[in-house]
Amino acid sequence: MKIYNVLTVAAAAFGIASCGTTDTEVPTVCDSDNLTGLPSVLFDEIEVDAGSTVVVHDAFCDDTELGEVRWDLHSAEGHEHEEGEEEEFVLNSGTDWAKLETRALTGTKAEEQFSFDVPLEARGVWDLVVSVVDAEGNAAPDVIALVHVENDHIPAFILQTVDGVDPSSWEGEPMWAPGSEVTIAGAVVDSDGVSEAEVLLIRESDETVVWSESLAVNGETSLDFTVQVVVPSDAEVGEYHFEMEATDGTGVEMHTGFHLEVE
């Protein structure tokens, strides 16, 4: 038995001794020579305007050799990236807009710029997630910056109360019961005047409109409204979307809303 033990230990020792070493340090988003004052992903928030071109400037560092960087810009609706980060109640618009770009890096430090054109339809909060990997394949934890998109181009909806409750105080999605009536009070504004506005309740499973009401507008730049949303008594249990649509005097359209659950 002793010889067998010796052989086993010898094989183990050989195996471990033969192990090479490798770089396991992950790359980082490090301090840049940002003399232009451009925003960085290290900022907690980046304020941008719809219709503008934004350039984000960052430096990436690694102890041996950089590999690649990826910028992933997408709507922040419906999720959080970091524990403790509270998702504010935001009426987002143009959430389909996203941009994904990857770029090879060389050396141990690289300064790169990522630019994006904010569409005129976008309003709300976007996540800019930056991922870096070095030449060995070590992936750094994602660095995330919130991009707040302000928009004066499209009409804006403001919700004051939903069923008597300020929606900014919501924790999680609202739940409405079939057959219930929910009062929603708010306003729709646009400097070019609002020519059309409509609110709808849409079942997400098949995009069926189960309830809708057009707001009476006459070109005002600001219109307060109160609607009684009637949830059909035979409404299917599940996910719904309360949609608010408006068109301004120049024909620019927008839509926004929030998710809710019927049960």
């Binding site: 086993t8 195996g15 192990c19 403790g84 990857t102 394949g137």
Partner: protein, 782 residues
């Protein structure tokens, strides 16, 4: 003169007296000599008092031998006096009787008793794996697997199990059903096999690679499921059971019936199970870099149902011949956690009032298998096995595009259909055996989420197995053919216009040669101290997935890239085991140790590249690369059983490294210790308190997260009178929040199940002349 002297002598009174005296003495002596030279008597069986016919009776010192007649009577005569008689009869103790002047002697013979110590009969049976470890049947596949130290089971849903053997998973752990390897997307760590342990006679784990009859895929080991065996005699046997598990609201029912009359037995079985959304202890967790909240401590959309069935026929022939045919099927349908396909939204996690309902994303898996066996005893035992099976796996998800271009139509994200055939011919004698195996698989893929193309895989093997002294030496030569089609998709620009072709894979056809050499040697230091060692050299051709993958694997949320230039993995492995058995059959102390060390040349595994996939939701690119690796491990267990109390303990250690980098290999199981203290009461009751400690997983691959340690308490309460059993079991009694490092979804951050409590009732009813089938008989059913 003389006549006158004689006349005077005869006429005188004194001479007449003397002569008379001499005559008397002579007569007396003559009489005496006539009595001692003849002895007669009877020989009979002690206890029975029946005649012992044909017993040999030898008189001493003259040596004359006579035989007892049918009445057990004998008569022996010697010219000289007979001092003693030696009596001998077959099957009886020899007796020497002193005559002591007796004319009649009756002799009682005792039956001969021979006490034998344990006898070892060494012969070869290719169906018996000497390193096999019988798993404890618990009615649940997952806990059945984990009753073997070093063996883990990934619970992927309703009857979908993926065994992890010494850190190896998927296509490196072979699952064999009566010797036939199971297909079903085995290359995917998150693709489980469809089995229900209750519809098999036994589950056996065979650790390590190089077992010549188990195929080249059994690199980490093999799980052998033994099919339903024949009853000992005419009669019927029905095994059934129900179980409910609180936690994930899982309910199960199974029934297995077999009926034998004469040489024919038919069997049929069916099981049904259903479970609700998986309960977890966490209220929030990080998933692909996103923090998600769980409102009800359940993972939504993880419920499902499964159904399994079997029908078969066995016909026993003369001299141990046997023919069987069996049809098995399984079907599983279950939801998938919303983030497994696509990116989860917080709103996706809010829907949990419908515990048993599931919607997109979801998966269906189906298996249908027809297999048969024919065994003929002769100068050589001949066995022919064959199998045909169809395995389908479909994954459905809300359609979404990963790059530019239109959104897909329809929900079918990935479809994998595999047709598998297997054939084996085997010839065995007492000292050796040889055989051939053929295996063919044809896989068709479709769906809008391309992962790997249509492929085929064929294997032919020649096998020789022989006993040399006490060693068992096996040799297998393999030829493997892998081929897959090319696959292209339209390439789109950012405005959605089609600008060309995206070549996902190119057609490939390759042949691989390989094989295995296995030298097993048992050790017997004493009747209670045994062991063995094994040296094995074996190779394994790369899977179709390793050669041809190129796409997002939703189960791992990675972009996985195959390598068409991969070569077969080659392994040199040494294994050993040592065990001490109880000296007293009813209790005592026993322990067992098992260890291994393996050097791998070109170990194929997914390695992160320094690049990201150029499409959304894909993340970093992981490519199949071949790197040399070293693996070693130890499993130890000890048991002490007293009159009423028993203590069991087991420990599994594993280390596996990529030699080039010194990093751990993916899915390296952390140290796992299990302890149990049990007490019996009465003849049927038992209670056990269990504890499991899983160490912190620090031996990780690149970018693999460290998994914290976990302490899990449990208990078991059982009542097992003859023919039935009631068991109550609680797992994770403290509802500890934990992550399973070896889970297929660990890379995604998916959390493990929390506390569950299970109540199980099983019944085993026999009728007719059926006796309990001994375990050895069950082994022979392979």
């Amino acid at each position: 003169m003389l006549g006158t002297w004689l006349c005077k002598l005869m006429c005188s009174p004194w001479p007449r007296a003397m002569a008379s005296l001499c005559l008397c003495v002579l007569a007396s002596e003559a009489a005496q000599g006539q009595n001692t030279s003849v002895v007669h008597g009877h020989v009979y069986h002690a206890g029975h008092l029946t005649p012992c016919t044909s017993a040999a009776v030898q008189a001493w010192p003259c040596g004359k031998t006579v035989f007892a007649d049918e009445q057990g009577h004998f008569t022996v005569a010697c010219s000289n006096s007979i001092d003693s008689l030696s009596v001998i009869s077959h099957g009886h103790e020899a007796v020497v009787i002193a005559v002591n002047g007796r004319a009649h002697v009756d002799v009682e013979l005792q039956e001969l008793n021979v006490a034998l110590s344990s006898v070892e009969v060494v012969s070869l049976s290719a169906d018996v794996e000497p390193e096999g470890i019988r798993a404890q049947q618990t009615g649940d596949v997952l806990t059945t697997l984990e009753s073997v130290a070093g063996l883990r089971g990934l619970d992927l849903g309703a009857g979908l199990i993926q065994p992890v053997f010494r850190g190896l998973v998927g296509a490196r752990v072979s699952v064999l059903e009566d010797g036939v390897p199971m297909a079903g997307g085995r290359w995917g760590a998150d693709h489980g096999v469809l089995v229900d342990a209750a519809l098999y006679d036994a589950v056996e784990a065979v650790p390590g690679g190089g077992h010549v009859w188990l195929g080249p895929e059994a690199m980490g080991g093999a799980l052998r499921l033994s099919s339903i065996g024949m009853l000992e005699a005419d009669g019927k046997r029905t095994q059934s059971g129900v179980r409910y598990r609180a936690g994930d609201n899982a309910a199960r029912f199974h029934v297995l019936h077999r009926s034998r009359k004469g040489r024919i037995q038919w069997q049929a079985g069916w099981s049904l199970n259903r479970h609700g959304n998986l309960n977890v202890a966490q209220s929030s967790f990080e998933y692909i870099g996103r923090q998600l909240e769980l409102a009800t401590s359940r993972l939504p959309n993880t419920s499902g149902r499964g159904m399994h069935g079997v029908v078969g026929l066995c016909v026993a022939g003369d001299n141990g011949d046997l023919s069987t045919i069996e049809c098995r099927w399984g079907s599983v349908s279950q939801g998938l956690f919303p983030g497994i396909i696509g990116v989860p939204d917080q709103s996706d996690l809010e829907r949990d009032d419908q515990v048993y309902q599931w919607e997109l994303p979801l998966q269906n898996a189906m298996r249908m298998q027809l297999q048969g066996k024919w065994r003929h005893q002769g100068r050589m035992q001949r066995t022919v096995r064959w199998s045909l099976s169809q395995n389908n796996r479909n994954e459905f998800a809300p359609p979404h595009a990963h790059g530019f271009g239109p959104e897909p139509e329809g929900d079918l994200s990935l479809s994998l259909a595999e047709f598998h055939v297997f054939g084996e011919g085997k010839w065995e004698s007492q000292r050796g055996g040889f055989g051939i195996q053929f295996e063919g698989l044809k896989g068709r893929t479709s769906g809008w989420e391309f992962l790997l193309p249509n492929h085929i895989r064929q294997r032919g093997s020649l096998i020789v197995d022989r006993l040399e002294g006490r060693s068992r030496i096996g040799l297998r030569l393999d030829v493997v053919h892998n081929a897959h089609e090319g696959h292209t998709e339209p390439l789109y620009a950012s405005d959605g216009s089609e600008i060309g072709e995206d070549v996902r894979t190119e057609a490939l056809s390759r042949w691989f040669a390989g094989g295995a050499v296995n030298w097993y040697h048992p050790l017997a230091f004493s009747p209670h101290l045994r062991g063995s060692w094994t040296l094995a050299l074996h190779s394994r051709a790369p899977s179709s997935y390793a050669l041809a993958a190129n796409g997002i694997h939703h189960g791992t949320f990675r972009f996985e890239q195959g390598n068409p230039l991969l070569k077969p993995e080659q392994t040199a492995e040494v294994r050993w085991q040592l065990m001490k058995l109880n000296k007293a059959p009813s209790g005592g102390f026993s322990w067992d140790l098992r260890g291994f060390a393996a050097l791998h040349n070109g170990f194929i595994h997914l390695t992160p590249l320094a690049s990201f996939a150029p499409i959304a939701h894909a993340g970093q690119v992981y490519a199949f690369q071949a790197k040399d690796a070293f693996r070693t491990g130890l499993e130890a267990g000890w048991t002490w059983s007293g009159n009423k109390v028993s203590v069991q303990n087991s420990l599994a250690l594993l280390g596996q490294w990529a030699l080039e980098t010194g990093l751990g290999l993916p899915f390296t199981s952390p140290a796992d210790m299990r302890s149990s203290v049990g007490r019996r009461w009465g003849r049927h009751g038992n209670f056990a308190l269990q504890y499991r400690w899983i160490a912190e997983a620090r031996l990780t691959a690149r970018n693999e997260s460290v998994t914290p340690s976990a302490s899990l308490w449990g208990m078991q309460l059982g009542w097992k009178p003859s023919g039935c059993a009631i068991e109550f079991e609680v797992h994770n009694l403290m509802n500890a929040a934990w992550l399973d490092h070896v889970s297929a979804y660990r890379a995604l951050g998916l959390v493990a199940q929390g506390r569950w409590a299970s109540l199980r009732f099983t019944l085993d009813v026999r009728g007719g002349d059926v006796q309990e089938t001994p375990k050895m008989k069950q082994q022979q059913q392979f």
